[in-house]
Amino acid sequence: MFRRLPEAGGSTVTITLDGCPVTARTGDSIAAALIAAGIGHCRLTPVSGTPRAPYCMMGVCFDCLVVVDGVGNRQGCLVPVAEGMRVETQNGGREIGR
């Protein structure tokens, strides 16, 4: 559904989503990288388990929550990607201590 602009520059970095490699560009937020890679959802809500994907892309809606390098409930749209970053789907509520 989402395509990168042809003139988009930047060099390539590789992150992982739930252990699988995802190619991103430097300067991408995690949320941008995930939707550019075509993910369907990045989290399940804590109350009903409904799948959600990045929405506002500006730090307001909290629908892009993911686990980043072992830390839960990070806002994917506010964290730039970095080489080797481990991103995981946020399945429900954040676990305590994670």
Binding site: V47, G92, G93, E95, I96, R98
Partner: protein
Amino acid sequence: MTASEFEIAVIGGGLVGAAIAYGLAREGRPVAVLDEGDIAMRASRGNFGLVWVQSKGLGMAEYAGWSVRGAGLWPQLAAALQADTGLDVRLEQPGGFHIALSETELERRAAMLMRLHNQPGTIRYDYEILDHARTRAMLPEIGPEVAGSSYCPLDGHVNSLRLFRALHIALGRHGGTYLPGQPAQKLRYHGGEFRITTPSSEIRAGKVVLAAGNGNARLGPMVGLDVPVRPQRGQVVVTERTAPFLRYPVVTVRQTDEGSLLLGDSVEEETDATVGPAVVSVIADRAARMFPRLASLNVVRSWAALRVMTKDGFPIYDQSADCPGAFVATCHSGVTLAGTHAFVVAPRIAEGVLPQEEFEVFSAKRFHVPAAA
């Protein structure tokens, strides 16, 4: 100006007023709740959602019994609300903890509970003082600073937002009337009935129940009731939702059915409802010392509320001698006592009398003693 007439008018639509009005409506009484509306600085805003027994009643044995009775009526209330509204208020009564962060705190706690339970006439119920290891067996996430705890199997908690909504819906289902935007300004007893003036109407009622929290201090004298209450500030902190990890409510830390953690709750002799970093940071610090892995959670909200306090900390239930049919109910524990208000207090009010043997101890007359020279 419009006038309307009801058998009973309840002034205040917070947890206390809503529970009493629900009880009256269940009795088939035409009841109206006059409420400021959602804008009201209700004491209910400061509730922590606990259905709590342990530590209540030092200085008034009857209040310990009243609290035990309140907790005992809760399953019946939850079932009635579910039947009336379809809403599950998520009552859980697995027992609850008070955590001590030093040996001194633990000794003080144990001594206080012993004094409470040694009072003549105090209802007997189980509680235990647990050391660190026994506390950890039930609350595995406690940190090394926890010296121990007191545990009472009667304690529990409830989703108080659902409770508030369920009470209001159930009131309507039983034919009660909710009148928002109608703060009571003036109350008059005239010709055997009460006339309540609000900014937009006059409401007439055969009986009136003051359930306006701190507002009762102002309204009471208009119908011959002395209600010496004062505001007391409490602050509450809420974290993001997390996966369930806390099986039991702790008096200052509880995990809601939806996963949020409520951290509380301060007791401050302040009359403005503002949140401040000084108190909030102490609340957060103590919670993180009790459960160190909480420290990484994000806080999403904090707020302050003004609760209702009497000189001795116990509730006031009273009836007016000068204006028969005027009642007052005010307390600090609108959640714990919600079932008592609906199933015990409301039927007595419907009958027109708070029986002396049950209620005299809660009358404001207890404050009318000459001060020692």
